[in-house]
Symmetry: C2
Subunit: 258 residues, 2 copies
Amino acid sequence: MKTLKIIKIGGNIIDNKEVLNQFLVSFSKISGPKILVHGGGKLATKLAHKMGVEVKIIDGRRITDLATLDIITMTYAGKVNKNIVAKLQANNCNSLGFSGADGNSIISEKRPIKDTDFGFVGDVIHINTSTLELLLDNNITPVFCAITHDKKGQLLNTNADTIASELAIGFAEKFKTELYYCFEKNGVLERLEDENSVIENINPKMYKNLIEQGIIADGMLPKLNDCFHAIHHHVAKVCIGKPEMIFNTNSTYTTIQK
Amino acid sequence: MKTLKIIKIGGNIIDNKEVLNQFLVSFSKISGPKILVHGGGKLATKLAHKMGVEVKIIDGRRITDLATLDIITMTYAGKVNKNIVAKLQANNCNSLGFSGADGNSIISEKRPIKDTDFGFVGDVIHINTSTLELLLDNNITPVFCAITHDKKGQLLNTNADTIASELAIGFAEKFKTELYYCFEKNGVLERLEDENSVIENINPKMYKNLIEQGIIADGMLPKLNDCFHAIHHHVAKVCIGKPEMIFNTNSTYTTIQK
């Protein structure tokens, strides 16, 4: 079975032109099939401010009214995605930008209203791998922004971490899938202020303890939920850390264990 | 030889939600390989106003500084392109959004500065059909926005009419290509105010005369230049008119002749 690497990059990489360019040079050199998933960084919030659209975030999740969905579509699928694709082409990595609507690759449903109405936020219900496989087989690298669709004509805002894990799960039958979450830290840290306190392996039992101790909280909670969801659904490898974890065999990072 | 239809829609379709939806329903029903090319309509100008970015147009062409390029990328490749793709998916037309950077499909060079510095405007120098063919062969419909790249990492604003004609020329070796320019009129009109004065056929000699008489002027000039460029480079059919010309055999429109 061939290995497919799915790499998600977060805002700290997207927001820093130099860091992004350097990452894309390294990413281009990865041999074998690969998929890049990116968030939008602070651009969407900046554009919302410029346009006078109010930014509402509840529990770390963006409330997505129609004006906000437009802003997200413009920044994620437009500016960020196309600039990444152009940079990859310059590095001789033949890439192709995707939202979940493209190739009907990620179908989601609008999140039902319970306590909070998140608006046009989509929860992934199905991954169509056929178009993506066709491209991967021809050495073309899909680059995903964090937008999906409901197959009824509606775009939906979807968490980029979730898109990465669902893609990894969706491909797990056909590839040995490896999922890499790249962010600004060396991994999950025992002490937030100490970059050297990386927890190198986390299993579900440890995860439960770390939550109880308050060591894993806030934004790390949904990220780690996506990680465990993937590792329990046939994804071969799930890691969290700086991009170096992919390119440098000596680096320290966190590996998720079953 | 199989027929490939390349259909370009202009601002009057993009800017009217009802008209666009109706067009996309009809477009979805076209059998055989097809490519859609769209402009951005008035959205880019509207967004520029909202963001306080000055709009400079010389000889009907937008001067594209970096802020304007961002706005164009956000509206054309983001909002317009992704919403069209989502709508096509709802109509069971499996489509995939493209800029020229995607799949390295349209390479352009920044227009040299002569009298006017147009900024980040690209003139097409090469069409790569391989990724597009792969998709067309698998019944996937590419949807192009009017953005290209220079293969050195720079996105460039490129006229949508030109993109459509260059794609039609690029595919002319492998397909019998037909090029349809859809806009708000029934075709090239002898008298601008009379919808029934459609000139049904135009050859180069007539074109020269029509320019001399001032009947063809302004925005129609570059559009017709693109038309004649296509018909003189192995494109089988080039037409201008309302979308009905594609779907209704009884409609009147303008056909370009060698």
